[in-house]
Symmetry: C2
């Protein structure tokens, strides 16, 4: 991603947070994380995040999804004998999201996905998340989610977060973004 694209996404995420009535402090406003998962197609595959707290016991984040934006399929694997992997609760605060988890595939799922991504979306049990709805995902369980046509704000409550250990189904994905500092090149 180009630096300007990151900044545009940060500004856009701020507008969604404002619509949802969620207040960030100054440090948070200038540090919204923009993840394109290395696919350089942020409008379709991406996620914007505010990490409120991440310590060795728990984590809390706000996830911002633009309209139709998809966080691609992944799982949080066991990390040690004491840590079976990240467990997380998604709570929709604003807009609408469709969460997909392991289980009986939903007959007519609402998510719209381009063919180039479809083969790496293998779980299709749909959990619709409207404001006030929430769903808890066990450790080491495949999941992905997509915002509805308005976008979505989802609070994530979880055990400790370690994004670098996430396992994505699509082998093209890099979770930690690469930003081109110099746009002249």
């Amino acid at each position: 991603m180009k630096r300007s694209e990151v900044q545009n996404a940060q500004q856009r995420a701020l507008k969604f947070l404002e619509k949802a009535g969620i207040v960030l402090n100054k440090r948070e406003r200038s540090n919204i994380e923009v993840a394109d998962f290395g696919l350089n197609d942020l409008e379709n595959i991406g996620l914007e995040l505010v990490v409120y707290e991440n310590n060795d016991r728990y984590c809390a984040k706000e996830l911002i999804l633009f309209p139709g934006q998809t966080c691609p399929e992944h799982r949080h694997p066991p990390l040690s004998a004491d840590n079976p992997g990240k467990m997380e609760t998604f709570r929709c605060r604003w807009g609408k999201a469709y969460l997909y988890v392991e289980g009986v595939p939903t007959a007519a799922p609402k998510a719209r996905v381009a063919d180039t991504y479809k083969e790496y979306l293998t779980v299709w049990h749909e959990i619709p998340l409207n404001p006030g709805d929430q769903y808890t995902i066990s450790a080491d369980t495949l999941h992905w989610f997509q915002a509805g046509p308005e976008g979505a704000i989802v609070s994530e409550f979880s055990s400790t977060s370690d994004d670098t250990s996430d396992i994505f189904t699509d082998p093209r994905i890099k979770r930690i973004p690469e930003i081109e500092e110099n746009e002249e090149r």
Copy 2:
């Protein structure tokens, strides 16, 4: 507390949540927890809670405080060799709260407290919490908090919650409320 007092407090808490733009689902709306800490003086000493999730790894709640309402001083003690006690992050979402923790006492603290409670408030290091501000409290650390004149909504992110083990400074306090089912008595 009388059942009617609990119901009134629940309705009032819902109005504060609405003002803050926080949406609850139907089950949550009818299950708002009202804690008077056994002191039967809810206006001054009390707390309203919505528990979103509490599992063996993490917990997330919304705390609602009426104007000037105080959550009395307590700590979360160690529970086992593996559990040093509950660690928690308070994030102000709406209104204003004053959090008091161990440390250098603040010269002119903003909280107003009746004499009957004052002797059981022993820590006076003030952390003002405006919307977007947050503060993380280590396990086994004394703390208490009071809402400003508008009230406050505070998100709590934490390790697993076990209210029954909380240790309050005021020996009169009972954390688990006693509700009189029959108001005729």
